[in-house]
C-alpha cells in the first residue's frame, strides 16, 4: 500500500437490491465513477436491501433487523454510497428514527452521517464538477425521483455532471419533480392509480422529444421504462450513473437485453 491509497476515502458501496438483481451495470458504473474520483470502493457481502418494503408496510421489526444488519456491515467505512436517492434516504434519514431508543441509536446516527447518494456524493462531498466520460451525447431528460429530491436535496448535482459531458443536451420535462407513480409496493397494491400517474409522467417525457430518459433510482426507472415500452415508445431509459460513467456503448438501455 502506498501513501496514495492510504489517503483515499474508503467507500462501502450499498448496491441496492434492484441494482443487484436487475441491473448490475449501475453498480459497476458507480464503482467506476467513485474510483475515477479517487476513492477505494468495497462491496460488503452482508447487504441485501435497505428494508423499505418492510418499513413502509408497517413492519418495524423486520425493518429494524435489516437496519442493524446494514449498519454492522457498513459502519467501518469512511462513507456509505448508494446509487439511489430512495435507499440512501432510508439509510440516512429513517434508520436513526427506526432505531431510536434502542442500543443501536448512537450507531445509527454515526452511520447516517456517512451515508450519501452517489451523484450528490460526487458533487457535494468530493467537489466534482465534471466526469471523465465521453459518451455518445444526445438529448436526455431527467426525472427527479422523490426521495432524492425532497429528502436529500438532489436536483442540480446530476444536471451539473451531465452538462459536463460534451454533446449531452438536457431537455427539461414538465413536472420533473412529480412522482412517477412507482412508490415501492404502492405500484402493485394500487396498480390502477399507479398506472394513471405513470401515464402522466410518460406524456411529459414524450413531450420533450429527448432520446433518453435518466433518473437516479432504478425503481422509478423500471416503472417508467416499463410503461414507455408498453406504449411502444422508442425512448431509451437509463440510470444516470451509466451515462456519467460513459457506459452507454457496452451496456444496452433498460430492457435492451442481457450482455
Amino acid at each position: 500500500m502506498n501513501e496514495d491509497t492510504i489517503k483515499k476515502p474508503r467507500i462501502g458501496l450499498f448496491v441496492t437490491c434492484l441494482v443487484d438483481l436487475f441491473r448490475p451495470s449501475v453498480g459497476f458504473a458507480s464503482v467506476r465513477l467513485l474510483e475515477e474520483a479517487g476513492c477505494t470502493v468495497e462491496v460488503p457481502m452482508a447487504q441485501t436491501c435497505c428494508g423499505q418494503p418492510a418499513y413502509n408496510s408497517g413492519d418495524r421489526e423486520d425493518a429494524a433487523a435489516i437496519a442493524r444488519q446494514t449498519i454492522e456491515a457498513f459502519e467501518e467505512f469512511d462513507y456509505v454510497v448508494a446509487p439511489s436517492g430512495s435507499c440512501a434516504g432510508m439509510l440516512k434519514k429513517h434508520y436513526p428514527s427506526l432505531l431510536k431508543g434502542t442500543s443501536y441509536e448512537k450507531r445509527a446516527e454515526a452511520f447516517s452521517a456517512k451515508v450519501h447518494e452517489l451523484v450528490s456524493f460526487l458533487v457535494d462531498v468530493l467537489g466534482a464538477t465534471s466526469v471523465a466520460a465521453a459518451g455518445k451525447g444526445g438529448s436526455v431528460t431527467y426525472h427527479d425521483s422523490c426521495s432524492g429530491l425532497r429528502e436529500l436535496g438532489i436536483r442540480e448535482q446530476p444536471r451539473k455532471l451531465l452538462n459536463s459531458i460534451e454533446g449531452v443536451e438536457i431537455r427539461e420535462m414538465e413536472n420533473a419533480d412529480v412522482c412517477c407513480g412507482f412508490g415501492g409496493t404502492f405500484c402493485v397494491k394500487y396498480p390502477d392509480i399507479s398506472n394513471k400517474i405513470v401515464e402522466e409522467k410518460t406524456a411529459c417525457i414524450e413531450a420533450t422529444g429527448a432520446q433518453t430518459l435518466l433518473a437516479g433510482d432504478l425503481g422509478c426507472l423500471m416503472n417508467m421504462a416499463g410503461k414507455l415500452h408498453r406504449q411502444g415508445s422508442p425512448i431509451k431509459v437509463r440510470h444516470v450513473a451509466e451515462v456519467l460513467a460513459g457506459m452507454e456503448d457496452d451496456t444496452p438501455a433498460i430492457g435492451g437485453g442481457g450482455r
Binding site: V15, V19, L21, F22, R23, P24, S25, G27, F28, V43, P44, M45, A46, T48, C49, G51, P53, A54, Y55, N56, S57, G58, D59, R60, D62, A65, I66, Q69, A73, C146, R150, E151, V178, C179, G181, F182, G183, G184, F186, C187, V188, K189, Y190, P191, D192, I193, N195, K196, I197, V198, E200, A225, G226, K227, H229, I254, G255, G257, G258, R259
Partner: protein, 481 residues
C-alpha cells in the same frame, strides 16, 4: 356522513374511468400549484413564516386546555355562549337546541368542513329545519346531494356543463331559454337565488379558521363574502369549530394568515378575513343578537400526545391534496369520507378508525410533496406510515400481503441465504426472458404487468459478478442469524 373508505379501491377505479371527473381534475391540478408557487416566491420570508406558524401551533397544542379556558372566558365576556361537544352527536344536538329555541325553520351556512364532519345538513333536514349552503361550491354539491371532494374547493370534481344541468333542473322558476354556458352566468344565477335566503334565515352557521384565546374571536377566511352575509344577517350566529383551531393572540393569527391563503389559493390574503367577537352591541345597527360557539372534540383529544399529535397543526388549506399525485388521479370522493388527500389519509383513521379507512394511508407513494408544501410542516408521510404500523400490529393487512412480506423479510434478514437464492433465481429469470429483454406478463407480477412491461434482469446478480471479478469477497462476510 356514512363512511365509504373501505370501498376505496373500487371507488378509485370508477374515478379513473370517469371522463367528466378526469377532465375536471386535469384543470384542477395545474391552477393551484402555479398560483401557490408564484405567491410563495414573491415572499422571501415564506419559509421562515412556516416555521413560525408551526411553532405557534406547537405551543398552543402543548397548552390547549388552558387556551380553551381562556378563550371561553373571553367569549362569555363579550356576551357569547360556548357549548362543549365531545362527539358529533353532542354538536348536532347543541345546534338543534339553539335552532329550536329560536323557532328556526331555515338556516344559512357558510362553508364549513366541521359541519360536514358531523353531517349537520342531513340531521337538520330530518328535524324539519332547512339548511341552505351559500358558498357557491357547497351550494352546487348540495343541489346534487353530494359531499365536498376538496376541503377548499367542494365542487372541484365538476365541470361547468354539469353545474348548468343542475341549475336548470332545480331553478325551474327561471326562463328556460336563459344562457348558462359561461361560469359568469352560473355565478350570477347562484347569487340571485341565494340573496333572499340570507335575509329570511333565522340562524347563520359558519365554521372557523381560527379561534383567538386573547380576545374570544372567531375568524373566517373566505373569498365570496357568503360567510359574512351568513353571520351578519340572521338573528343568530352559530360557530362550529374543533378544539385545535385555537391560537393564543391576534399576532399569532396574523402569522398564520400569512401562510394560509398563499398555501391554499396562492393569494396573499383571501378577500375576506373576518374576526367576530360576540353578538350585536348596544348601538350596533346590524349583526346577530346571539352568538354561539360549539367547540367540538370528536376524537381530537385522543390524538394529542400520540404519533398523530402533529396532525392537529393542520389549518385546512388544502395544499397537500393540491400537490398529491394520488388525489389528482382519483379525486376527493374516492377517499370515502369527509377529508380527502394526504391530510385525510392521516386524519380519517384518527377520527373513524383505521380498520375502516386502512386504504387511505396505504394509497400513497410517499413522494413527500405534501409535506414539502404544508404550511405547518406536518410530516404527513411519516404519519401515514405510523398508520400502516398500527395496521400491521393489529393484523389488518390482507393475508397475501403479510405472507409475501414475511417471505421476503426471511431472506432479506439472512444475507448469505439471500445471495444464494438470488444467484439461482436471477439468472433463471434472465434466461427466461431470452433476448427480448422484457416480460409482458409474469406469474405473481400481475400488479406490475397489467399496465407495464417488466425489464428482465441483465444476467447474473451484481454480487455474483463482483465476487467473480474481484476473486475474494471484499469486506466482511455476512453471517446469517
Amino acid at each position: 356522513m356514512e363512511i365509504q373508505s373501505p370501498q376505496f379501491k373500487e371507488k378509485a377505479r370508477n374515478a379513473l374511468a370517469n371522463e367528466q371527473l378526469q377532465r375536471a381534475m386535469g384543470k384542477a391540478k395545474t391552477g393551484f400549484i402555479s398560483k401557490r408557487k408564484k405567491s410563495v416566491e414573491a415572499l422571501p420570508e415564506f419559509e421562515d413564516l412556516r416555521s413560525s406558524a408551526r411553532a405557534i401551533k406547537d405551543h398552543t397544542l402543548a397548552h390547549l386546555d388552558l387556551y380553551l379556558e381562556a378563550y371561553e372566558e373571553k367569549v362569555k365576556a363579550s356576551g357569547g355562549h360556548v357549548h362543549w361537544a365531545e362527539t358529533a352527536e353532542d354538536a348536532r344536538q347543541a345546534v338543534l337546541a339553539i335552532c329550536r329555541a329560536a323557532g328556526a325553520r331555515t338556516v344559512t351556512k357558510g362553508k364549513s368542513m366541521i359541519t360536514e364532519e358531523i353531517a349537520l345538513n342531513d340531521f337538520l333536514e330530518k328535524e324539519g329545519i332547512r339548511p341552505v349552503e351559500t358558498d357557491l361550491g357547497e351550494y352546487i354539491i348540495q343541489l346534487r346531494g353530494e359531499h365536498p371532494s376538496h376541503i377548499i374547493g367542494p365542487a372541484l370534481h365538476l365541470n361547468k356543463e354539469q353545474v348548468e344541468e343542475d341549475f336548470r333542473r332545480v331553478h325551474t322558476q327561471l326562463p328556460e331559454e336563459r344562457d348558462l354556458s359561461q361560469p359568469e352566468s352560473l355565478l350570477g344565477e347562484a347569487r340571485e337565488i341565494l340573496r333572499p335566503q340570507y335575509f329570511t334565515a333565522d340562524v347563520g352557521i359558519t365554521g372557523a379558521n381560527m379561534l383567538i384565546a386573547e380576545t374570544g374571536s372567531s375568524i373566517i377566511v373566505t373569498n365570496e363574502g357568503n360567510g359574512d352575509l351568513t353571520q351578519t344577517l340572521p338573528r343568530i350566529h352559530v360557530v362550529v369549530a374543533s378544539i385545535e383551531k385555537i391560537v393564543p393572540t391576534l399576532e399569532d393569527a396574523s402569522q398564520i394568515l400569512r401562510v394560509l391563503a398563499r398555501s391554499a389559493t396562492g393569494q396573499d390574503m383571501s378577500v375576506y378575513t373576518t374576526l367576530s367577537t360576540g353578538p350585536r352591541r348596544p348601538g350596533d345597527p346590524d349583526g346577530p343578537e346571539e352568538y354561539h360557539v360549539i367547540l367540538l372534540d370528536n376524537g381530537r383529544s385522543s390524538m394529542l400526545g400520540t404519533e398523530f399529535h402533529e396532525m392537529l397543526r393542520c389549518i385546512r388549506c388544502g395544499a397537500c391534496m393540491n400537490h398529491c399525485p394520488v388525489y389528482h388521479a382519483v379525486g376527493g370522493h374516492a377517499y370515502g369520507w369527509v377529508y380527502p388527500g394526504p391530510m385525510g389519509a392521516v386524519l380519517t383513521p384518527s377520527l373513524v378508525g383505521v380498520d375502516k379507512s386502512g386504504h387511505l394511508p396505504n394509497a400513497s407513494t410517499f413522494c413527500g410533496r405534501c409535506e414539502s408544501v404544508c404550511p405547518m410542516q406536518i410530516p404527513l408521510p411519516r404519519m401515514m406510515r405510523h398508520w400502516r404500523e398500527r395496521e400491521f400490529e393489529r393484523g389488518l393487512n390482507p393475508a397475501t400481503q403479510r405472507y409475501g412480506l414475511g417471505f421476503w423479510a426471511f431472506f432479506a434478514r439472512r444475507p448469505r441465504l439471500y445471495r444464494l437464492a438470488t444467484s439461482l433465481a436471477i439468472p433463471t429469470l434472465s434466461g427466461l426472458a431470452g433476448r427480448r429483454g422484457w416480460f409482458r406478463s409474469l406469474p405473481l407480477a400481475g400488479g406490475w404487468t397489467r399496465y407495464r412491461d417488466l425489464p428482465a434482469p441483465q444476467s447474473r446478480t451484481f454480487m455474483q459478478q463482483w465476487q467473480a471479478r474481484s476473486g475474494a469477497p471484499h469486506g466482511r462476510e455476512g453471517g446469517d442469524r
